[in-house]
Amino acid sequence: MSTTTTPRVLGPIDIAGTSAVPFSTLIKVELRKSWDTRAGLWLLVLTGAFTMIAMVIALAVATTQDVPMTLGSFIATTAYTSAFLLPVLGILLVTSEWSQRTAMVTFTLEPNRARVILAKLVAGLALAGSVAAVALMAAVLSNLLFGLIEGVSPSWEFGADRLGGFLLAQAFAMLTGFALATLLLNTAAAIVTYFAYIFLLPAVFAIAAVFLDWFDSLRPWIDFNFAQAPLFDATMTGKDWGYLAVSGLIWLVLPVTLGIWRVLRAEVK
């Protein structure tokens, strides 16, 4: 309880001498928030660990069953697992501010809420990028091990277009979680909705497509999961990009726009 600061005479507010918080600082702060709590740190560790575990399983299955593997097939496996927990990271970036009520502090430190949300978005994409990097390294390592174990020279067959598709899919996974989170502003609701979206909805869409002829032709335009499938095997055609754009508009752009609109207007308590 001692006073260590040198007293300064406090005058009227002169804003000419201060500049806005740099955007890069906001991103750094948001990145730090993703791992400085026990929950956040564990989520990051688990995401990395699951990626590794999936690789080990793929490797074990491939070597015991003599399945021919390429770098591409390893990457496809890892993409599936990381797309699983990555969105939860995106969700927590947004919803923890509301459930823990830290938004009150965050938005008084930077009253421009759009900048804060944008910084979270960039931080989320950076995290998705690092997870993708870990996954790629794991895939390369697994492919090397596969070659050693099987006594063959590993196949590095994996095109640049597939790498692009892989990275895009990772980014989409993160963005979908982020979009749902800004729309719902509640951790549990956002996670449940995301898993319903990723597990339940494809099944519902598939069943509907079988029974309803009109839906079968509509499906590619509204099923974002379906539209992303060709990304993984790099078979995107012009029509596929159209599907991706339209379904992405519904599942990404619309919720994130509504969500940001909500955050900008919401009363912060």
């Binding site: 600061t5 406090l10 400085d36 929950a39 823990q100 502090v105 938005f107 008084t108 430190l109 009253p111």
Partner: protein, 304 residues
């Protein structure tokens, strides 16, 4: 300087803040006083832009809060000490704020020391903090940027007597340096001790405002006689009405000199005779609180 001009905030049919205008001046501590739910917190959130009012505007030093770049360097805010991530350590909470403001680790340690959070306490997670510790952390957070304006919602809640004393000194010296301090409280006594200026709010409306001296100085007299019956007779004879105050004394709206004369004329020995300071304010405040009576009326003792 903090200024609110005709600020109104409605939630459906409920008016939380009703045409509120007041100014918190530099070099002074302004106490924002009112019962729970009177509109204090809503008004303070409006000042820092977390709530947008339907009418009116609030400015700090002439600027809307959201127009102040890196505002924490100018305005220190503590709105709710519990609004912190339970999973972060106290030090980490300050570190995040300092990072945003562009300040280093040194400043964080300085603030921890200033508010009396020890090294061990700073390493603990906020979920294990008492309310008093959260308040100290919140104060440290508000002071990080060495701001000239402080906006604190119920900052002494949960502090022990030593903490309250420390907080009083801190805010007084901040005002003495030329800073502006706006603090809210639902306890009249607390505000009386800290504030230079007072703003009284009840049911969203400002009911009184002014300097402490203005508000505490009310016409009226407190008188305590040796023999109450004798004084009652003497006052009645002089045509002065007085009400018993419960401790053997009486309160009257007459001037002390008139009460003294009446007592002298009646030959009544007095134990105490003085101006009844703050009686009006206390009554007004009790009235405000009673209007929203959440507690059932205390039954009068029926002795048999």
């Amino acid at each position: 300087m903090i200024t609110l001009e005709n600020v109104t905030m409605r939630y459906g049919g409920f008016t939380a803040v009703d045409n509120v205008s007041f100014t918190a001046r530099p070099g002074r501590v302004t106490g924002f006083l009112g019962p729970n739910g009177a509109g204090k917190s809503t008004s303070m959130r409006i000042v820092v832009g977390l709530t947008v009012p339907q009418q009116g505007r609030a400015t700090i030093g002439g600027h809307a809060y959201e127009q102040i770049p890196n505002p924490a360097h100018h305005v220190g805010v503590l709105l709710d000490a519990s609004a912190q991530h339970a999973g972060r350590t106290g030090r980490e909470v300050l570190r995040l704020s300092a990072m945003t403001m562009g300040l280093g680790r040194g400043r964080v340690e300085e603030m921890l020391e200033l508010v009396g959070l020890s090294g061990v306490e700073a390493k603990r997670r906020v979920r294990n903090y008492s309310l008093g510790m959260r308040q100290r952390l919140g104060i440290a957070n508000a002071l990080l940027g060495d701001p000239s304006v402080l906006i604190l919602d119920e900052p002494v809640n949960g502090l022990d007597p030593a903490g309250i004393h420390w907080m009083r000194g801190l805010l007084r010296s901040h005002a003495a340096r030329g800073g502006t301090v706006l603090l809210s409280s639902h306890l009249l006594h607390e505000v009386e001790m800290i504030a230079d200026d007072m703003v009284l709010i009840g049911r969203g409306k400002i009911v009184a405002q002014g300097t402490r001296e203005e508000l505490l100085h009310t016409a009226g007299t407190y008188v305590k006689p040796l023999d109450p019956a004798q004084l009652t007779a003497a006052l009645e004879a002089a045509g002065i009405s007085a009400l018993p105050s419960g401790d053997g004394g009486f309160r009257s709206e007459a001037e002390p000199v008139d009460v003294g004369r009446a007592a002298a004329a009646g030959g009544v020995a007095l134990v105490e005779l003085r101006r009844a300071e703050g009686a009006g304010l206390e009554e007004m405040f009790l009235q405000l609180t009673a209007d929203d009576a959440r507690e059932p009326a205390i039954p009068t003792g029926a002795s048999s």
